[in-house]
């Protein structure tokens, strides 16, 4: 029942995103419209895939670092991606893929550094150091980014900042295809880690005694969640709060068991981002808000509500 409802909400969110937009397309001409086929449909699908990926990455990372307030971008990826993007612009790299590729490389570099820091205590990956290292690497990358921006005079840097706030205006069938081919791999890895993730919520020692290979699970979950986040940031910038709020909303209904939580977070995250992007495109049309602004405007009040609930429980 609740799965049917969620599926309906997800389909509706994507459909709404295809139907609504600044240009009025009569319903009868929907299927023949270039705007719908070349702009709105890929954009709606990309929003859904990115939102779903962020929801799953957030749920996985929250269990991994044992912190319910963890967000996929907390672990330094947004800083790395931003630095990559700004360097690409400062170097005048051109082409539709220059920015996404540079951001992806930046995110991977941050991922690698944070992962290395997480192993600093020895062979065991320490989630607390991952968290601290992520914040530190993110701040360091942001500092370099700001230094480059303050030294450069290019007006395009404003675009880099806007892009970093998250936007799906670069969506195309190519980017949809890219994410649709790439994301399933880390998604399946995370889904396969569902049960060990349930155990990890009890702490590493208990998880181990209940039969989980804790080291392997931690590495897989960190790498898979980060690789998902990296592709999300590459095609759509830093879209906050989806990865933070959606897992908690999913937990309220589906409980904490990752076997059902992860699929629910995927559908819920996809629906939320498709809906938020529709708002971002329509409320101030013909101009557009960064979708990260919309998710934050929706996400922060929900988050505050959740925090209240958390402190009571």
């Amino acid at each position: 029942m609740k799965w049917t409802l969620l599926a309906i909400v997800a389909v509706l969110a994507v459909a709404l995103s295809v139907v609504l937009g600044p240009a009025a397309v009569p319903l009868g001409e929907l299927l023949r419209s270039d705007i719908v086929w070349n702009l709105r449909a890929p954009r709606a699908l990309l929003a859904f895939l990115v939102g779903g990926s962020l929801g799953v990455a957030g749920a996985g990372l929250q269990a991994l670092v044992r912190n319910p307030l963890a967000d996929p971008f907390l672990l330094g990826l947004s800083g790395g991606a931003g630095l990559g993007a700004v360097i690409a612009i400062a170097l005048h790299l051109s082409g539709p893929w220059a920015l996404p590729i540079a951001a992806f490389i930046g995110a991977l570099a941050a991922l690698g550094l944070v992962y290395r820091l997480g192993l600093i205590g020895g062979a065991s990956l320490d989630p607390r150091i991952l968290l601290l290292g992520g914040v530190a690497i993110g701040a360091f990358a942001a500092a370099i980014t700001t230094a480059i921006v303050s030294l450069a005079d290019a007006a395009e840097l404003r675009n880099a900042f806007l892009w970093l706030w998250g936007g799906l205006s670069g969506a195309s069938w190519d980017s949809v295809l890219l994410v649709a081919l790439y994301a399933p791999i880390p998604l399946v890895v995370l889904l396969a880690a569902s049960r060990p993730l349930d155990l990890l919520a009890l702490g590493e020692e208990s998880a181990q005694y209940l039969g989980a290979d804790v080291e392997r699970v931690k590495r897989r979950v960190y790498l898979a969640a980060s690789l998902l986040t990296a592709v999300a940031v590459a095609v759509s910038g830093v879209i906050g709060f989806v990865g933070l709020v959606v897992p908690h909303m999913a937990r309220l209904t589906w409980g904490h068991r990752h076997r059902s939580l992860l699929p629910a977070a995927f559908l819920g995250g996809g629906a939320l981002l498709a809906f938020a992007d529709t708002l971002a495109r329509t409320v101030v049309a013909p101009r557009e808000l960064p979708v990260g602004v919309v998710t934050a405007l929706i996400g922060v009040p929900v988050f505050a509500f959740l925090l209240k609930r958390w402190t009571i429980a």
């Binding site: 396969a192 349930d198 919520a201 009890l202 005694y209 209940l210 039969g211 904490h256 068991r257």
Partner: protein, 267 residues
């Protein structure tokens, strides 16, 4: 003589960078239907012993075998089918109900993508009943009292259907009734279900009342091992714990009573 489930043989262990051994010359063998307690002051190596016994640490000298295979060679999943552990503490990241947390004990028996089968739910029901916790099944964990929570954690370890149960300070912060209840429960599992038990505890008196065999550690070395009456003598207890005691016998088991030691005579 039954084949021991767990056998430590002349184990020596030193943590990397430490200047003295955490364990030295420790031996222990636990067969089914045996209740063993490991005692000792803080820092005497009790927890290290558990880590070596369960394969988390590999002894530098000596052997630590579970079912005749070195403990560190077992995969975690296979080991969890044989040994259930109730660690000293844990915290639940997310709110959870009793039945859910006990069901986690079935993890080692499940395949990667498979769902829980009827036999898994049966094992959970059996474990809850054995721990007198069936009526708690639908409660949230955070609504339980300390004693109820410990029983649920024992139930989770039982749901693993192990042959050996390891408990690390299970009676800590429990009141008299719940602590006694827990020890009775564990003894019942040994007698009725034939489990072997390794319990780490501070409580000399309860260990002496319930366990078949005691191992007393001091600074990583075994001071005494064997039947409670042989281990807990006045002289041994006073030496190891550096405090004067008197000894009595209850139900044929030694019980120690710490004596007052006025300030002036301590110097």
């Amino acid at each position: 003589m039954t084949e021991p489930l767990l056998r430590l043989d002349g184990v020596r262990y030193r943590y990397p960078g430490a200047t003295s051994d955490a364990l030295q010359g420790v031996s222990l063998a636990i067969a089914p239907r045996e209740f063993h307690a490991v005692l000792g002051p803080n820092g005497s190596g009790k927890t290290t012993l558990v880590r070596v016994a369960l394969g988390s640490l590999t002894p530098l000298v000596g052997r630590a075998d579970i079912d005749r295979r070195p403990a560190s060679m077992w995969s975690r999943q296979d080991l969890a089918k044989l040994v259930g552990v109730v660690p000293q503490r844990e915290d639940n990241l997310f709110p959870q109900r009793v039945r859910e947390t006990v069901l986690l004990g079935r993890y080692p028996h499940l395949s990667l993508w498979g769902r829980e089968r009827a036999e898994d739910h049966d094992a959970v029901d059996r474990a809850l009943r054995a721990c007198d916790a069936a009526h708690l099944a639908d409660r949230w964990l955070w609504t339980l009292s300390g004693g109820e929570y410990q029983r649920v954690r024992v139930a989770r370890a039982l749901a693993q259907e192990p042959k050996l149960l390891v408990l690390d300070e299970p009676g800590m912060s429990l009141d008299l009734k719940h602590e006694m209840g827990l020890f009775e429960l564990v003894l019942g599992l040994v007698r009725e279900q034939g489990l072997g038990v390794l319990m780490i505890t501070h409580d000399l008196n309860l260990a002496a009342r319930f366990a078949d065999s005691l191992l007393l550690l001091e600074a990583g070395r075994p001071v005494a091992a064997g039947a409670p009456n042989d281990v807990l003598t006045q002289q041994t207890v006073e030496t190891v714990f550096s405090w004067p005691v008197a000894m009595q016998t209850v139900d044929g088991r030694p019980q120690m009573i710490p004596l007052r030691q006025p300030k002036e005579s301590r110097a």
